[in-house]
Symmetry: C2
Subunit: 448 residues, 2 copies
DNA sequence: CTGAAAGCGCTAACAC
DNA sequence: GTGTTAGCGCTTTCAG
């Protein structure tokens, strides 16, 4: 009923081993036989059994993504990016919604982690300890959070607020309110730091911290009243959802935006342009966060995988690799080579001969990242203090085209390799209709 | 390194077979041994190898969901519902984004279908033929589309527009514009049908069809101008995104909503309340669409599965089942029993003794569906003309609490069982600020 | 109720 | 280059 590799082998007049090789490692088979086997396989409609393959190779060809809330446009966009990238690389992706529950996250990762080659955790709210624990079981890449030796892709939080505040300052605003996100939000902490730096640098600018709020529309609505009462002429919100809430509340109270109060968001979700006035906000390359995360995962995390046979081999290869051989890519290639190829029809047949160089920036619109970002362990970079806390990042005063960091995505899986530099993506302020010049006379609640 | 079932067996002093049973079919093992094995397994941190299990059982414990666009709030919400439900049943779910490309859909389903127990296709744009083809390979459940014998969950499209038009009519509107969705949208076709019925029933109501538009914000913006030119005092949009676009365009042109024009959307996505005026719209139980789809999948689609050994057994069981024995649930239970239980730690240990009754409405807020919706093949229902085209659905004139259909979710997998009735979910108009009484004098472009 | 044995479909040594 | 031989870890007959 279901056609098996044996069937193909028999029909092609070769041994199962040869059939297997012809499909999975074509370069090991004589051209004539190879093509014949491939043809027969096609004719018979052969579909390799993934479970059987996984059982022996230890690789699944799957990834997983865990987000706090799929309905949040921010995460939806990241998910889309992850999807797209994974698909072109031949990976399928499990998506899990943690329902904003920090306790659910580790559970989800543990469950899914058992059946994937790696996991992307987007804005995880779980503790550092949980992250450490999980990282032992499955290759992890963090998005929008940083943690010790784990690979991660983040945005330049500090630079975003810098741009926003600079913009507001140029419009004459001197009293700016900040409506923060959740107290335990990693990115919010970075933005606060950035805020402190900018306001230091700018004369006569005063930032009023209105405190932490839920990072959703309702949070913004609540914050709206505080904004009105603060006497600020401009407000910067933790994210667009919050900004939208503020906007809504302000307008409901009869305050005009931007005539009375200017509002700036963060993230640039689609809804930012659905409202009027359209929201001035900090554009974050949402989809790219996802894409980079996948690249990172495929680049290094996949190298080690608890997979019985494969595991031992990889370990041996890595050892040999470290012992001198500057870079015999062929070796690691045949080991780390995961699924690839856009066509799902015969992924195996399409398996490239070229070594595994998953991301060389080909698809990126700006050439920020080094083209050899995927190659790891080239001596020099080893042993640095990459495991530091990551406080060294934001020289927030500097500006100009901040490069999205290169760094060697090494393997933090306990193979003794150094911790990777996080991939940091640039953000950019996009000015729309919700910000304008400071009102000539101060606006306050008393105005109405 | 990794603890295997053999290890557990050895440590517990039993054979691998017994260990396996103790964990996967506890009822087959003597209480004493059973508990001992379970304890040992826990202590050793035993984690069953899913690949090995899948290889022999043919079941994966995974589902997949394919949507046209993850960033569309409609699909995000459905995805969330699918997620949640699948998780409580112990299933992990692959999510794929078809990027609004009908050609990509079958490819994704084919790829993922090979490694899941069933697939949920949300608003698939692919052809009927593609659906037929895929349905042969993997159990399918459709959301927001109907097709022959495939199980599906849809909303009462016709009733939604009926409510909307009735509302508008009550406000005095007599000239109502309809801004449709994509020409090949199944749901849009249903809404048009409903529209025709209602306007027949209502005196003096004239519906102006403004044609098909892309179901996104930009589509609505484009439609906005047509609305203004149509002379209609109210407009009903294919969905909220389009309604939002219309709203935006109308306001940009100086028309006031609802004073000059009333706007009604469909779906009630979160953004509907982010704008001002808040959108009057037809609330669709988005998350529930997803939940029901999963229930349907688990209820019947899982019964048959090409899985070597399991397949034959299931087939035999089904045959025996049909031959009289009204309901020997024990049999099918041990066969169809998929993963379940909320705890991921020891899903197996939690395997219920009770027969497989995945959804009995326990989690539903309204008891619309029958509690025995999961039980299939009880003679009577067999052989009906369930395979009809689905044109029989909308007696659009009727109203009142339309029940969300019960029907026996039979297996359309060619086992000779009848086609299932689609699960139809009720929708409800929610009146917000974007609709109001008809203007005393007609509004047209000339007004400004 | 329990154990021994036989694979699920595939890949990876190891010889030839 | 190719075939032969072993299993990967688990479930499931089939005897006892």
């Amino acid at each position: 009923m279901v056609v098996t590799l044996r069937d193909v082998a028999r029909a092609a007049g070769v041994s199962p081993a040869t059939a297997s090789r012809a499909l999975s490692s074509p370069e090991l088979v004589a051209p004539a036989r190879r093509e014949q086997v491939q043809r027969v396989a096609r004719e018979l409609g052969y579909r390799p059994n993934r479970a059987a393959r996984e059982l022996i190779t230890g690789r699944t060809g799957n990834l997983c993504l865990v987000v706090p809330d799929l309905e949040n446009p921010f995460f939806a966009a990241v998910a889309k990016g992850v999807q797209a990238r994974a698909r072109t690389l031949g990976y399928a992706v499990f998506v899990a919604d943690a329902e904003e529950d920090p306790r659910l996250e580790p559970e989800l990762v543990a469950h899914l982690g058992a059946q994937v080659d790696g996991a992307v955790l987007c804005s995880p709210r779980m503790s550092d300890e949980d992250l450490d624990r999980l990282a032992e079981d499955v290759p992890l890449v963090l998005v929008n959070r940083r943690h010790r030796a784990l690979a991660s892709v983040v945005i330049d939080n500090a630079d975003g607020v810098r741009q926003a505040v600079t913009h507001l300052h140029a419009l004459g605003h001197t009293r700016i309110a900040y409506v923060g996100g959740p107290a335990d939000s990693w990115s919010d902490a970075r933005r606060r730091e950035g805020l402190a730096h900018v306001s230091h640098g700018l004369r006569r600018v005063e930032v009023v911290d209105l405190g932490p709020f839920a990072p959703v529309f309702a949070g913004g609505v609540a914050a709206g009243d505080l904004v009105a009462a603060s006497g600020a002429t401009a407000v910067l919100a933790h994210n667009d959802l919050v900004a939208l809430g503020i906007l809504s509340r302000l307008q409901a109270r009869g305050l005009r935006v931007p005539q009375d109060v200017s509002v700036v968001g963060y993230d640039d979700i689609p809804a930012a342009t659905l409202v009027s006035p359209a929201l001035t906000t900090v554009t974050v390359p949402l989809a790219r966060l996802g894409r980079e995360a996948v690249d990172l995962l495929v680049a290094h995390a996949m190298s080690t995988r608890r997979g019985s046979a494969a595991e031992r081999v990889v370990a041996a290869a890595l050892a040999a690799h470290r012992d001198g051989a500057g870079g015999a890519p062929g070796v690691s290639a045949s080991i780390t080579g995961g699924p690839r190829g856009a066509s799902y029809v015969d992924v195996d047949a399409a398996r490239a001969v070229e070594p595994h160089t998953p991301h060389d920036g080909t698809h990126e619109t700006d050439g920020a990242r080094g083209t050899d970002g995927a190659r790891r362990a080239d001596g020099k970079a080893v042993g640095a203090d990459g495991g530091a806390d990551g406080r060294a990042d934001a020289p927030a005063g500097a500006h100009g085209p901040r490069v999205g960091v290169v760094g060697a995505p090494a393997s933090p899986d306990g193979t003794g390799e150094p911790a990777p530099q996080p991939v940091r993506l640039r953000v950019e302020l996009v000015v729309r209709a919700s910000t304008g010049p400071v009102p000539t006379r101060p606006t306050s609640e008393a105005d109405r």
